[in-house]
Symmetry: C2
């Protein structure tokens, strides 16, 4: 393995031309000669891609509401199956039987007063918005419930919001809370509300985060109009994703199932999402203290915390049916190493029509499959096996991908070299996250993809945005001097979770975006009509995504030396450990000062006596932690990752297998505290952030949640994982 | 002179009791024995103060609209005159003839569409809100004008907002701008608009800064309702305040007057303030780019920059009359040093009823005069002469105080030991700003004033708020360790300006506030009814203000050694110079990086191509400046201010006179660039901030405005001023 570093002069060239001549390029895992051939192959691949065809696919697959369990959902799966077959792939359905509740009854009202509409209107400017078969606006996995209680506004519903409520003397116990979308994943909001004793939870889209505050509303502009509602799952998937009844195992027809009450990923309270039109009367009904500035949204009213003078009434029931979940699995057998799989996936189910989410990504993936099929017809065969997957049931909780991955866990841990995920896609900047051993590869791939709007490489454009958006001149300078981009770490929110965080399979997630902002997400307005106006007019970024994911697939499939760069993993994890030491030191300093402010009565002196705001509670002092075992482990990884490039075993099948299986060494068998399904010691979704990643989650969350005694245990688990990886790579490389 | 430093143990005691026993106290300028007597005098003074009487004064003086030139304005002056006389003072009117325009015609409309109401409605909850004689809603000193043009939204109307407009390709030339109140002084907004070629300016109160966003609106709560309008002056008083026709000279009946066209403090375009109810249709009429996030307010609409599809029409005319300006001047002759004056002032004119602004401060000042009058009846005589002033015409532009100060400039520069100003006052924290040689005195005074709500000293409470609101744990720790408070520097916005910035008389401004926020400012709702509910219920802080200002007056009046502490001035100015070197270094670094980002096309790469936003213009590089002359001058001041306390001349009349006249050494005869009226080299209102102070303004504004060649010249002027002060103090102290 060779580590590629951008020469500075090339980076400058990139800025002007965005392209290098093929003969100037090095590719990780390839000899110069093989690299030239691979780039020619990619050029031929590109010639097979058609953005018009991507657009046609989006139009066709988003033509009807097609959620899991629906007739059109099955039709979409069948269409994808037929497409793969027609492209020359060996495709079949992999069907699971999963729980998926849909609403029977939805009622939200101020008894004797306002009754919420709970309905998005059809618009003449949006051809599919009035179709039959739309799922009503709801949060999937809400409990059944019929509750009446006082209402309390809890801001974003974060743990710290409840700390403020405690200072304000407002309890949510026995009450219904109203939280707004944003800042944390939606499922975190009712979970934290439930932890604090709430009996129901309303989640609404405030126009500050999602509405007229951001731009003209649909259909005039892209942003959420007053009636738009964000549907979405509130499965507690930071415990485990997938079918709640079959954790750790595939939800086959005959699988052993938990009872619903036993499923720890299900909340116990009723939860309902509403529009800002519906939210306004409820917010206006609130009394109590005025909400602090950070809590205020963009509705034309004074935000109060509550409770209100009147009780409100929320009644919800669901059908709780087991439904078929149709994954499509398409394979193209490798010519040399058929038992090494390059797995690629995107889901096909939507909340409603889902032109952007997920069809924009699905269409790009199908375009890759079509292009590769054409290359095969021209005589090309990938050296490794390609496995292209179209997942069902992602929206309720990554059901299809999780069940398939759990069902094939052992085989995947043997064979899967990588899992490459996409989901929704739009105009803007490259988003790339995943296993950091793949960072070099991602940079090399992105270096050759031309941004459709600016003509520079997508990496150069991403570097520009990172430099411009850095907070200080000093950080801007650093970003300007940096070679390539850092890829992000993955939390949750799409189908990579089981692969990476449960099975330790190196994973990537790609998607373009940032100039496609709008309010269509999980609403009936995520339609083809919306998409072609606001998300990716001309489907240029659909094409860019096909290129990005397709080139990555092909480079991994054909590389003699698998293109993993564990040096980048070492550097990244080392950076995380530095962050953790700074986190602990910062928390220690702020705790000391805050406690001093509290003990010296500064809060009482400063707080407006008319506001009756209590001082915060004294917090336990932050002890000093022994990070040295982990730092020593990283010193070992430092040495071995520097030496890997010189291993005599490079290119051997055994060494390649060791490279792609190495990330499994970072799994901790017992998993994370209170959520054993999550076994990766470096990447996990945050317990209180949901989609948002926590890196080195065991240690980071123990510090953030002030579980001091847990910190050392978790440092121990990560240390052991890093030492396992070091020893494993040493043995594999024979050094 | 002795410098007092809080012993730490006392500071701790203060936190618990807020009070020290009299015998434990040192007072700057007093022997221990004299200090004890002075504190007893202050205790007797306090016994004469009545918060009920302060409330009664507020009720009486705010009973009718009483702007300058109105019948009730004259009646208020007469009442104050009678009061001073009845308290035993030698009082008289000092009348000037000043220009003061009131509206003849006001029209704002979308022709064929919305016509602005331009009217605040009477409320049954506010007894004076429906009275006759209210000034209509207007910006005083707007030009006459009848203009029709496209409308452009310019955010707060700051210079940097126009930089963004240029990037967005939107010009205001020949157009009318709409700016919102906040961030800069209101007069800066039309001034900058005019500089950019606008033909008219509307200023509105956005509910984000001043309305329902902040709390319940009047009359339910304190905040601005949709019809409330902030009147106010737009005199370009950073050029010079006071009567525009008589700069530098008192506007006596026979004074030489400029023609109106010659007055450089008058703008040339029509300007009108409006409510958010009136602003909404105009903002909704705008097209063009969506305003960037920092520009968006709290109205329920998408903020666009414009221009709008339709032109709008603004028509204003004014009567431009010369009107009498009635200052009340009350004196109490000093027993020992009658030619040393302690001058104290507060204005009496209001925009409408002005219960808070200015009557809350006026009532406290009258209460002091009453109490001192009682002490005099009991046999007390101040050693220095007290001069209590009630100013007319402050609202249009500090007219009364400026004309009086200009008229008595020579006498004041000889006799005025200090000028102590107050204005509106309310519940909350001590605000104290002014000449830093008085910082020690202010801390000693505040140490003995008990905060009515918390029972600690007002200094301890202020320290607590400074510690809590510091940005980082490190800064919080520093604030917690600090002894006493730093007083602020004065910009403009009340009647101290002529005394401090034109004449170099040491000045202070006091006021409580921070828990009295509301939307009544300069509206018909600044009423007694509003005041007693939201500003200072029970008039506790009115009493605290009487104590604070009164004790300060008495301590200066009776001190054998005048309580100036030039060490604090040295420390403060030295801090400002450090700020300036950091400002230059930071600007240099950010300019380099920004220019690199622009030259490397990063802005084009990052900017959403759909938004057509140009990159910023390349800026000139920031040269290195020679601060060493000023740093050397400060080293000299360092030495002399350390030695002052040991001067053998302490307590001599000549030394005392030198101490209070010393600040005049900091005046620069030529004044600041483009505004010679402002002569103080350390304190001035900012050219583009208005009320907001710029310290060491010549140098700071040259850097901020990128006038590189001016920086050295201004460093020279400040250096000369500091050297003059050092030499002067050396001579005076005989060291």
């Amino acid at each position: 393995m060779t580590t590629y570093h951008f020469p500075r002069i090339l980076a400058l060239l990139l800025c002007t031309t965005g392209l290098l001549r093929a003969q100037d390029k090095k590719l990780i895992g390839y000899t110069p000669e093989a690299a030239g051939k691979q780039l020619e192959l990619e050029a031929r691949f590109d010639q097979q891609l058609s953005r018009q065809h991507i657009g046609e696919t989006i139009r066709q697959l988003s033509a009807h509401p097609h959620h899991i369990g629906s007739a059109h959902g099955k039709a979409v799966a069948d269409e994808i199956l037929q497409r793969f077959k027609s492209y020359g792939w060996d495709a079949s359905l992999a069907t699971y039987q999963v729980l998926f509740p849909t609403p029977k009854e939805r009622l939200l009202e101020i008894p004797g007063g306002y009754k919420a509409l709970l309905k998005e209107p059809a618009l003449k400017e949006d051809a599919t918005s009035g179709q039959e078969g739309q799922l009503p606006t709801y949060n999937c996995w809400s409990a059944d419930g019929d509750v009446t209680g006082e209402l309390v506004y809890v801001n974003f519903g974060l743990p710290e919001d409840y700390e403020y409520l405690e200072r304000a003397g407002v309890s949510v116990k026995g009450k219904i809370v109203i939280a707004k979308y944003g800042r944390s994943w939606r499922g975190t909001k009712p979970k934290v509300a439930q932890e604090h004793g709430a009996i129901g939870c309303i989640i609404y889209s405030d126009p500050k985060e999602d509405g007229y505050y951001n731009g003209d509303v649909y259909p005039k502009g892209a942003f959420k109009n007053e009636y738009g509602v964000q549907r979405g799952s509130i499965l507690d998937m930071v415990i485990y994703p997938g079918d709640p009844l079959t954790p750790n195992t595939g939800a086959t027809a005959d699988a052993r199932r938990l009872k619903r009450e036993e499923a720890t990923s299900l909340l116990k309270i009723p939860v309902l999402p509403i529009s800002y039109h519906d939210a306004r009367p409820f917010l206006e009904s609130l009394g109590g203290p005025v909400a602090p500035p950070e809590w205020r949204g963009a509705l034309p009213l004074t935000y109060h915390i509550g409770p209100g003078k009147e009780k409100i009434h929320l009644k919800l029931s669901f059908d709780w049916q087991i439904r078929p979940c149709y994954n499509v699995i398409a394979k193209l057998k490798g010519s040399e190493w058929p038992d090494e799989w390059v797995v690629r996936g995107n889901h096909h189910d939507a909340w409603v029509n889902g032109a952007a989410d997920p069809i924009s990504g699905m269409a790009s993936q199908l375009e890759e499959a079509k292009a590769i099929g054409e290359l095969v017809k021209q005589g090309y065969r990938p050296r490794r096996t390609l496995v292209y997957c179209a997942w069902d049931g992602e929206e309720p909780g990554l059901l299809g991908s999780t069940e398939w991955a759990e069902d094939h866990a052992a085989e995947l841990q043997q064979k899967a070299v990588v899992y490459i995920n996409t989901d929704n896609n739009g105009r803007g900047f490259l988003g790339a996250s995943g296993s950091h051993a793949l960072e070099t590869l991602v940079n090399e791939v992105g270096r050759d993809i031309i941004d459709p709007q600016t003509g520079v490489s997508v990496i150069a454009r991403k570097q520009a945005v990172e430099a411009l958006s850095a907070a200080t001149p000093k950080l801007k300078k650093e970003k300007l001097a940096k070679q390539g981009i850092a890829i992000g770490a993955m939390g949750s929110g799409s189908d990579y979770s089981a692969f990476l965080q449960h099975l330790g399979i190196p994973s990537l997630n790609y998607g373009y975006g940032g100039e496609d902002a709008g309010g269509e997400y999980h609403s009936i307005y995520d339609s083809y009509d919306d998409f072609v106006r606001f998300k990716d007019p001309g489907f240029h970024y659909g094409l860019a995504l096909s290129q990005t994911a397709g080139h990555t697939v092909l480079r991994i499939a054909d590389a003699v030396n698998l293109p993993f760069d564990y040096r980048k993993l070492y550097e990244t994890v080392n950076g995380y450990v530095n962050e953790l030491t700074e986190l602990a030191a910062g928390l220690r300093e702020s705790t000391l000062v805050e406690n001093q402010l509290i003990r010296e009565n500064k809060y009482q002196l400063v707080t407006d006596t008319a506001k009756h705001l209590l001082p915060p509670a004294i917090k336990t002092a932050v002890p000093y932690f022994d990070f040295s075992p982990l730092q020593n482990a990283l010193a070992g990884l430092d040495t071995v990752t520097l030496a890997l490039a010189n291993s005599k075993k490079q290119g051997s099948p055994a060494f390649n297998k060791a490279l792609y299986q190495a990330e499994q060494q970072l799994l901790h068998t017992a998993g994370l505290p209170a959520r054993p399904w999550y076994k990766h010691t470096i990447y996990a979704p945050g317990f209180y952030t949901g989609y948002g990643v926590k890196t080195i989650p065991g240690v980071r969350e123990a510090i953030e949640q002030r579980q001091w005694s847990e910190v050392g245990t978790q440092i121990g688990a990560v240390t052991a994982a890093v030492n396992r990886l070091t020893a494993y790579l040493k043995t594999a490389a024979g050094i």
